[in-house]
């Protein structure tokens, strides 16, 4: 369930005017920006941008980019984009890092629906004049590259049907591949990147039932092995995305010095999806409400925006 709080009646014209007012003159009224944008869904945000462009012949995003700064600006920028466009930007940022953020690419390709992933690929092309798979291929190597390209290129069947025979045989294949630590990467990649999500969950369950332990536990090993790490992230995202997001949030806050990129990314991308469930998981796991943990670890307008997206009442 979503966490953002959207009012019954919305006037995008009034919103555009309010945002204009917040940006005019010396200084910026960040609170006003948060109080408008923080309470609008994707469709409304898009309409506000169009209305703003109509009224003032200016790109709202560019205006905000010039007015704001730091973590707050990054968060607002990501929040205001269309979900598909946002994911394209996140993917590009992850790819172009000196040491690419493989787990972000996995996250985007494995936790979005097949249609959503297609939309991301389109948005990526429109923005960067390359295909997503091209850029991933050009910036990664070896088995990690094979896995990531396969994941971003997948168009999984979206149905509910499960073939228990296949679940059985592929659980065996995965176990064989994992047990030898000689990881038959081809087979693992094939299974993880082509099967439907329902089918994969059946396979993971079968694995657990047959071997008394989850496959991710069996993959634990040398944390220097990039392929293994990426593989574990893949399986976590496919098997239980909410649990995965809870973990990312927990790690991003716990660190000495918060990982704002991860914190922003998860909150912004899940606020309209399942952040409420993730919050509950977080509370169960850490005995502290997520809002509280975020409030303790962040400051200023950045904090205010995050809390708003988390559903805090103004």
């Amino acid at each position: 369930m979503a966490t953002i709080d959207v009012p019954e009646q919305v006037s995008v014209l009034a919103d555009a005017e309010a945002l204009r007012k917040a940006c005019k003159g010396w200084g910026t009224d960040e609170k006003a920006i948060i109080s408008v944008l923080g309470h609008r869904n994707a469709v409304q945000r898009k309409q506000i941008r169009l209305a703003y462009e109509d009224l003032y012949q200016e790109d709202l995003i560019k205006r905000l980019e010039s007015e704001l700064s730091g973590d707050f600006e990054k968060a607002v920028y990501r929040w205001i984009l269309d979900p598909a466009d946002r994911d394209a930007v996140l993917a590009n940022v992850a790819i172009k890092k000196l040491s690419p953020d493989h787990h972000v690419i996995v996250e985007i390709s494995c936790t979005r629906s097949p249609e959503e992933l297609l939309a991301v690929r389109r948005a990526y092309q429109a923005r960067y004049k390359h295909s997503l798979e091209e850029d991933v291929a050009a910036h990664t190597k070896g088995d990690t590259r094979k896995l990531l390209v396969a994941l971003v290129s997948a168009f999984r069947y979206d149905g509910e049907e499960i073939n228990t025979r296949v679940a059985n045989s592929e659980a065996k294949i995965l176990h064989e591949a994992v047990k030898d630590k000689e990881f038959n990467h081809e087979e693992i990649i094939r299974i993880l990147s082509t099967r439907s999500k329902m089918q994969l969950m059946a396979t993971f369950n079968r694995y657990r039932d047959d071997h008394g332990t989850t496959i991710t536990k069996n993959l634990e090993g040398d944390s220097g092995d990039e392929f293994l790490k990426t593989l574990r992230t893949t399986i976590r995202c496919l098997n239980d995305p909410k649990k995965y997001f809870e973990k990312v949030l927990r790690n991003s806050i716990r660190r000495v010095g918060t990982d704002e990129d991860a914190l922003t990314r998860v909150i912004v991308t899940r606020a309209e999806k399942d952040l409420k469930d993730v919050k509950e998981l977080y509370y169960k796991r850490n005995s502290v409400p997520l809002d509280q943990a975020v409030a303790k670890d962040t400051t200023g307008d950045y904090k205010a925006l995050l809390l708003t997206l988390l559903g805090k009442e103004d």
Binding site: A154, F155, Y157
Partner: protein
């Protein structure tokens, strides 16, 4: 009595691609006596049975079936939504095995990015699996390339980095000439390049290859089956289609090659017209309604 010219006409009615329906109507609506002497005269279609009658040759029946179905298949193929059409062609090719994998390459590489996406969606609806999943059934080494090609969503804009194209031409050259040619289908970089780069980029790569090594990439891949098909479909599609059409009308063409004629004309008519394809060569061998349909298809290949 049936004249030799009638016997010849009967044989001829089934000896091209398609069936000469009009001819059959005029030959066969004659007396029983006439038909009896047709049978006796036609050594291609009938053999003398020891029990005293002219028996239809078994292999001719099969050929007849294919010939009569051509028009039907052409109609169905041209009526289907392109997405469903391509999805069905791919599914059939996967089922039928290695000799048909070039059809998968053709579908994946000659369609626009959005058409290929559409085919993938239609495949979900029709077969309740993704194409990639069904390709799992292929145990051979072609699987990797086919999965990669079918999964691509290539950028279709202009703007090619010539330096990258040139260096990737070199990578391919080395893979083909210095590496183990038998392992080409396992060459990760080669597959990555062919499966993810835009067609514009690959066409630039093709040019660089030609300039740098005095032969074309297609020539260097002679005998390499679907790898050559891949390169041709992506870089020089007109060469690929011409090759397929010519194979269909050869004297000893098999049924699959002949079927390709329908597939290519129905699905590529706009492309063929754009390239100034003139149906002279194929006109003579086509027959009947099927011929009319094919020629009309080519004539109508308006570029929308």
């Amino acid at each position: 009595m049936a004249l030799p010219v009638d016997v010849e006409a009967l044989d001829k009615a089934f000896s091209g691609i398609g069936v000469d329906e009009k001819s059959l109507i005029s030959i066969l609506t004659n007396s029983n006596e006439h038909k009896r002497s047709l049978r006796k005269g036609s050594s291609k279609l009938f053999i003398e049975d020891e029990n005293g009658f002219e028996r239809w040759d078994q292999s001719s029946i099969k050929i007849l079936k294919h010939q009569f179905n051509r028009f039907r298949d052409a109609v169905v193929l041209s009526l289907l939504h392109p997405w469903e059409r391509d999805a069905r062609l791919i599914e059939k090719a996967i089922r039928k095995g290695p000799k048909h994998y070039n059809v998968i390459v053709e579908m994946a590489c000659t369609r626009s990015s959005d058409q290929l996406l559409g085919a993938r969606k239609a495949y979900h609806s029709l077969f309740h699996h993704s194409i990639e999943e069904h390709l799992t059934h292929i145990k051979g080494r072609e699987r990797k390339l086919l999965v990669a090609l079918v999964s691509a969503y290539r950028y279709e804009g202009t703007g090619v980095n010539e330096d990258v194209a040139k260096s990737e031409a070199q990578i391919l050259y080395e893979a083909i000439n210095n590496g183990d040619k038998n392992k080409l289908l396992d060459h990760e970089d080669a597959i990555m390049i062919l499966a993810s780069r835009s067609k514009q980029h690959l066409q630039a790569l093709y040019r660089h290859y030609n300039q740098s090594y005095d032969k074309t990439l297609a020539q260097d891949l002679e005998g390499e089956g679907i790898l050559k098909d891949t390169v041709e479909c992506l870089c020089t599609p007109q060469t690929y289609f011409t090759r397929v059409l010519e194979a269909a009308v050869k004297e000893d063409a098999d049924e699959e090659s002949k079927r390709a004629l329908t597939r290519v004309i129905v699905t590529q008519k706009e492309q063929l017209v754009k390239e100034g394809f003139v149906p002279n060569k194929i006109q003579d061998i086509l027959l009947g309604l099927y011929k009319d349909f094919m020629l009309a298809s080519i004539a109508s290949g308006d570029i929308k």
